[in-house]
Amino acid sequence: MSEARSENSASNVAVFDTHPSDAIDAESPLHWSRQRGVIDAAAGEGQVTVVERPFLGHLILRGGAIVLDEAVRETLGVSLPGQPLGLNHDADGSRSVQWLSPDEWLVIVPAGEEFELENRLRAQLGDAHFAIVNASGGQTLLELSGEHAREVLMKSVTYDVHSHGLPVGKGVGTVFAKTSVNLRRPREDRFELVVRRSFADYCVRWLLDAGREYGLSVE
């Protein structure tokens, strides 16, 4: 058994596509709030906008930076952020790789791409010492943009969200409204909040309250 493992470790890892068939409706973490009208009722003038990006593919990569960098370049065409708190995107900005800790990175890709990517990464990495976990079902992404997006965040996180504290291409784990958030800045005019699925509803309600004075709306 151990011989078989060392010959072809990839084949001994149980992987499965977590996406159900199209026949089954997937519900976003904000489904309950939408159904109850909490979100619809809050349409403001739009000086701050929250856009939900549910069902994206989230993969956690763990291992050595050098071996993972090579595999991620090969499969995704993006280099692994070498510096702490780095956030790299591909050319069209829809796929990202983020530093989470010295041996841990978060890859976010468009919905449905994660299973194929995971398999390609596993094939590429072969017998290297690594781990890949599909975290797509456990977390979700909220985009925050608009003139007063920074002011809304200033009321919600302990981190300095000014451009000198959180410039484009940086992502940090920090405290958001007494819970945790992975706060990223992919562009000058946009913040991304990666939150736990079970806290997404709470986070959006917090944002609705914090953004009320700026006419925050949720799409």
Partner: protein, 129 residues
């Protein structure tokens, strides 16, 4: 409120992101099956409680979620250094010239040691600093 430098994130963060995990540099007995009850008990239950320099373990639980060490002065709350796992402190009680005593101060101003085995028999005596 502490403002703590995480050696892995390479920047200062608010204390709210961290959690203390007690005394640092505690070594598990190499051979638990054959160590004495006293050794095992010391390892499991007894911790230093110095007045002054203390090396402690913290975790950046809402950031990178890594454990690291802090050297802190328990009398002033000043954080003297933070350093990653596997490294030794550069600021120690001996080197900083800070008097390190084991135990807690009692109501009459003397010292009462805690733990199964005081490391120093002179712990209850005030030493000139």
């Amino acid at each position: 409120m502490f403002y703590i430098f995480c050696p892995y994130c390479d920047e200062r963060r608010e204390e709210e992101e961290f959690h203390p995990s007690g005394q640092a540099h505690i070594t598990r007995p190499a051979d638990p099956e054959n160590c004495s009850d006293e050794e095992w008990g010391d390892y499991l239950f007894f911790r230093d409680n110095p007045r002054g320099i203390h090396h402690e373990l913290w975790v950046h639980r809402l950031g990178c979620r890594k454990f690291f060490n802090i050297t802190r002065d328990t009398t002033t709350y000043e954080i003297l250094e933070t350093y990653p796992m596997g490294e030794r402190p550069t600021v120690t009680a001996e080197r900083a010239g800070v008097r390190q005593e084991q135990g807690v101060q009692t109501a009459d101003g003397g010292w009462q040691t805690v733990g199964a085995r005081p490391e120093n028999s002179k712990l209850n005596e005030e030493t000139p600093s």
